[in-house]
Every structure is written in C-alpha cells, then in structure tokens.
C-alpha cells in the first residue's frame, strides 16, 4: 500500500501533568514539568463561552489553539478533524441520571453541548472558521483513526488540517465502565507540503495487525488512563525528533507512523 506523507507544523498538548508540548520534552530527562491550572485556559473562547463551555470543549480548544499558534497559520483556513473516544462523559452522566429521574427537566444547553461535535462547533465559532469540520469516534483507536482521516483530507484536498483528539475523565456510573481516569488532548496542524513552519514529516502506512508501541513511564501510565492518550507514542517521537511507532487505527488495523524531524532551529 502507498505511503501517505504529511508535514507537521504545529503541536498542542494538555493533561493534568502537561500544560503544552514543550512540557513533554522535559519528561525524558527525569524532571517533572509544572502542572497547568485545573481548567484549560482555552484562550480562543470569548469569556462568556469559556464560562459556559463544558470541560471537553475547553480541553479541545486549548490544544487546538496551541497547535495553530505554533503553525503560524490562520485558524479560519484550516479544515478540522476532532476525535474523541467518549465525547463529554460528565454531560452523558448528567443526561442519563436526569433522564432516569426527571426527564422533563433536562437542560437544553447541556443537551446541545452533548453532541459529539460540540468541541469542533465551538472551535469553528471562536475562530470564524467556515472550512469543513468533522467529529469522529473510534474507541481506543480514536487518535489513529483521526490521524488517518486528517491525513486523507490533507492529501486528497491538498489543504492544511487541524487534528484534535481528546477525552475528559469519566464520571458517575458510566465512568466505571469507560475507565477514563484523567483528561488528555493533543492536536496537530498537518500540511500537504514542506513550508517555513514544517517541524517534521510523518510517513503513514496501514498495517493489518496490531503491535505494541512501548512507552517509558510516566507516559505509559498516562496512556493507560485515557484512550486519546494513545497519541502520546507519536508525540514522544516528535519531541525526540525521529523514530517509528504504531497506533491502532481500527479493531483490525494499525497506522505505522515514521517521524522525521526537520531541523528548523526553532524550539519545539
């Protein structure tokens, strides 16, 4: 099968332990980065939206904003692929609990924030982006499936794409099943050709089998705690400049990613 090549121009990252991608580069040296505040800043949102937005939206908008800022591109021009294994679990927990008790009292705002594309909807509103936008889910393969969809948009339409993959921590009885223990989101700005903002190339290939992508602690633990954190294997390579990893892209397929850093003199 043919290899898909895309160029990385921006990287965003947020978890309770990592405020951005630069923080990840400190981890292999054994240092513990300063943790971010409890709520992602999500600076792209207006103060009103920030107050009303659920955590899943803050998380996605935060990493999207980081990646776009690093790329130097205008958010208005970027097609958007937002992936999440579970969507907003606290809202699902609220809705199912309310529906079981007092269905007629369901909050209309929480209902419209419950759609899986709420995060990308808020992002396009905040950034004035009229480009195509989508919201995906693929369970534990959400990061790999999102990367595949994003790369296929980059190459099929020769345009830059913003990929975001994130999940909030689970809560309530549902949280016991999803076992999603802490929030995590990552973002990449991907382009079809080399440019002044290029940080690395990704060569992507689908392989019909699963293989582990070993990670050192604490990254391996973070990855176990959130399905979207499968992307840590790729982000770790980006922070180290080059290497190869495999990400689940579906129940039957892996996406093999070959990372080659581009020496730009920029601090990644």
């Amino acid at each position: 099968m043919s290899t898909l090549r895309v160029w990385v121009e921006g990287i965003g990252l947020w978890s309770p332990s990592l405020s951005d991608f630069a923080a990840l580069t400190e981890v292999p040296g054994g240092s513990t980065p300063t943790p971010p505040p409890a709520r992602p800043a999500a600076g792209m949102l207006s103060p009103n939206e920030r107050r009303r937005a659920p955590e899943s939206v803050l998380l996605a908008v935060e990493v999207a904003g980081q990646a776009v800022a690093m790329s130097g591109r205008k958010a208005t021009d970027l097609a958007c692929v937002f992936a999440s294994a579970h969507g907003d679990q606290p809202i699902t927990d609220y809705m199912c609990a309310t529906l079981a008790q007092v269905p007629a009292e369901l909050s209309p705002m929480r209902f419209h924030n419950s759609v899986h594309n709420a995060a990308v909807g808020y992002w396009t509103m905040a950034s004035g982006c009229h480009a195509p936008s989508t919201a995906l889910a693929a369970q534990h393969a959400s990061f790999g499936a999102g990367l595949l969809e994003a790369a296929s948009q980059v190459l099929a339409d020769q345009r830059a794409v913003l990929l975001v993959c994130g999940d909030t921590a689970g809560s309530g009885p549902l949280g016991e099943l999803t076992r999603c223990e802490q929030s995590f989101a990552a973002a990449l700005v991907l382009a079809p050709a080399a440019g002044p903002a290029s940080l690395a190339t990704l060569d992507l290939q689908l392989l019909a089998a699963h293989a582990d992508a070993p990670l050192p602690e604490p990254l391996a633990g973070w990855r176990r705690g959130n399905p979207s954190a499968a992307g840590l294997a790729l982000l770790a390579l980006l922070s180290q400049d080059s290497g190869r990893c495999r990400l689940a892209a579906s129940a039957a397929l892996d996406l093999q990613v070959e990372v080659q850093g581009i020496d730009t003199g920029r601090v990644r």
Binding site: A100, S107, P108, H112, C129, A145, P173, L174, S250, A251
Partner: protein, 397 residues
Amino acid sequence: MTPLAVSAYTATSALGRGLASHVDALVRGRSGLRPNDISSAPLACWIGRVDGVETVSLPAGMDDWRCRNNQLAWLGLQQDGFTDRVRAARARHGAARIALLLGTSTASIGATEEAYRRLDAAGHFPDDMRRPAIHTPHSPSAFVAAALELAGPCLTVSTACSSSAKVFASAERMIRLGLVDAAVVGGVDTLCDSVLFGFNALELVSAAPCRPFDAARDGLSLGEAAGFALLERADTAPGMPRLLGYGEASDAHHMSAPHPDGLGAELALRDALARAGLESSQVDYINLHGTASRKNDEVEAAWVNRHFPATTRVSSTKGYTGHTLGAAGIVEAVLALLAIEHGLVPGNLGGDTPDPDCGACFAWRNERQRIDVALSNSFGFGGSNACLAFARAGFAA
C-alpha cells in the same frame, strides 16, 4: 472528482424495511409517523418508529452488542440483499480493503439510559449492562464491522444530523488515495430519551406530525433509521448510480441554530457542485434537510430561491420518516437515489399551507419526471453542513 459507483444501497425507517416499502410509501403518500409510544416517561409528540426492532436477534456469538441501536443496524443490513453485496465485495477486494464508515448522533446511548434507570443499590450498572462496547459512540460502527467481517479503516462520524452524509466524503477520499478499494457507508440512530427530551427542552418538537415548509410549522418529529450504501470505483458497477460530488462546510455561528444567511449551506453547495462539475441548473431534484423547525426551513427555502430555477424540484421527506438525526444523511441519500431510479419527485408531505417563502421549486405533491441529478442536504448542530450529489449511471456533467 472521478465519480464513484453506489453499487448497493438500502434503508429501514418508519416507512418500513428496505427500498420497496419506501417507494410504496412515497407513491401512496403514506407517512410513517405515529403518536409517541417509546419514551420512558410520557411526552406528547409524534415519532417515526421502526416496528419490530425489539425482537431482532443479532448473529450468533454477538450478544454482547445487543441494544436497540445495533438491533436496528442488523435489521437494516438484512434488507435488499445488502449483506450479500458486501460479501461479494469482500471476496473481490479483501476484508482489509473495505472501509466501514458510519454516522450516528447518539449511537446506543439508549442502552446507557437504561443502565441508569436500573442502577443497583450501590449505584453501579446492573451486570447485564456492564458491556463497555455499547456505552460509547463507536458502538454501531464497531458492531457492523464485526458483523460484516470487515477489517479495513473503521470510524464513526458524529456531527449530529449531518453525520451519515459526511461519511460519503470520507469514503471518497480514502478510495481516491488508494487506502481502500471500497467502502460501506451509512448511519444508524434510534429513538431514545436523550433526543426526545433533549429536543423537547430546546422547544423544537411539535406536538403534531411535523409540517416541513408549512406556514404553520411548529417543530420537528423525531425518527429512527438505519441505512447503508456500498461505494466502489465506477467500473465495478457500470449500471449503478454515481456519487458525483459532496460539499462540507461550517456555519461558525451557533450551536443549535443555523446561520441566518445559510452561509455554511451555501459553501457546502458550492463545494458539491464544483467537485461534481455541475451547474445548479442541471440539478433535477433536491431532498432538503427540511426539519420543520421555524428557522431551518426559512433559511433553506431562501437557499433554494437563491440558486435554483423552477425546473429544479425540491422537497423534504421528514414528514414521512421524521427527523432520523444521525441517520438522516443516509436515509435521504437513499431517497434521492430512489428518485433517480423511479423518476419520482416525492411530494413535500405535511406542507398543506405552503410557507410563502417557498418559491416555484417546491414539489408539494408527487411528480413523475426523469431525474438525472439529485442532491441531498444535511445540516447539524454545531453548524455542520453537508451536501451530496448523485447521478444516474452514464450521466455526463
């Protein structure tokens, strides 16, 4: 773009199981809507419910996937020989060379709702509901991929009511790039408390059967459906209709209201026509989104008036099926394909007192005419817009 063959397609909705029951309902003007008899607490509205979903058995060994949504998916796959067509495609291309891309709005959240109604004394899910694979948005795609034994790319698009239109776009890109040789696309959504009480909370549900584009319309009727299509390169199925193009765009305006000038719908149309190499005057029929909400229909009627001559016929079929949310894209793509196959413009059921905003394009009653090119509109919460373009086999733009 290079057109793709829609080498098989099917739909199951309140109108019945499979294509023949849909054509029959359209020809007779028979709506599938009925008074709400499904929510766990009373709610006065009309719904498009599929009969017999509760008694559908899943294939042997797949009982862990059991829930209303996956039962409806399996029921839908059994119609019109669709599983046989997929089996033949699997033999032709190999299981890993066929993508499975489904749209859904709420997946099997009805099962999660049930688990919350039946929490045990300690507040945990009851044992029979402790099945993580059904309490997540990917449930229908993962189930269908397993049931059809497909091993290619598999993902769920969940952009509310545009979900199962956008899967056509993802599939076309994957085929064009050579990632796969074929794709099973479609969507499944089932009626559940979340959508009934959720849309009710937004004051978007009518107490009566929905009346798209009627002057007195006062909200939508919710429905459920499963629909599927098999997409392959055109030479694989020379006699079958074509996916000519698609358009996708974002309103960037509001979470639950359309852009007042229909900006996203405008951009989606422009994208679809450009990919298809079409002029708007070449469009014979458009299956509109037409939810019967005040705002959607106002914006969409203006969109029709701006772009199309009276020779382009348009209608909403939500009065037949109800708004099937994440399945609306595939159901209405199938109805557009049936319009081409049968030369039937379905009348806009429920529009007894046409809104004066609606121009000469609107087909208020069934019309018989040759249809070479048909579009289907799907718009969703979050400002997500999609427009699909289909054509008769052999049509040259």
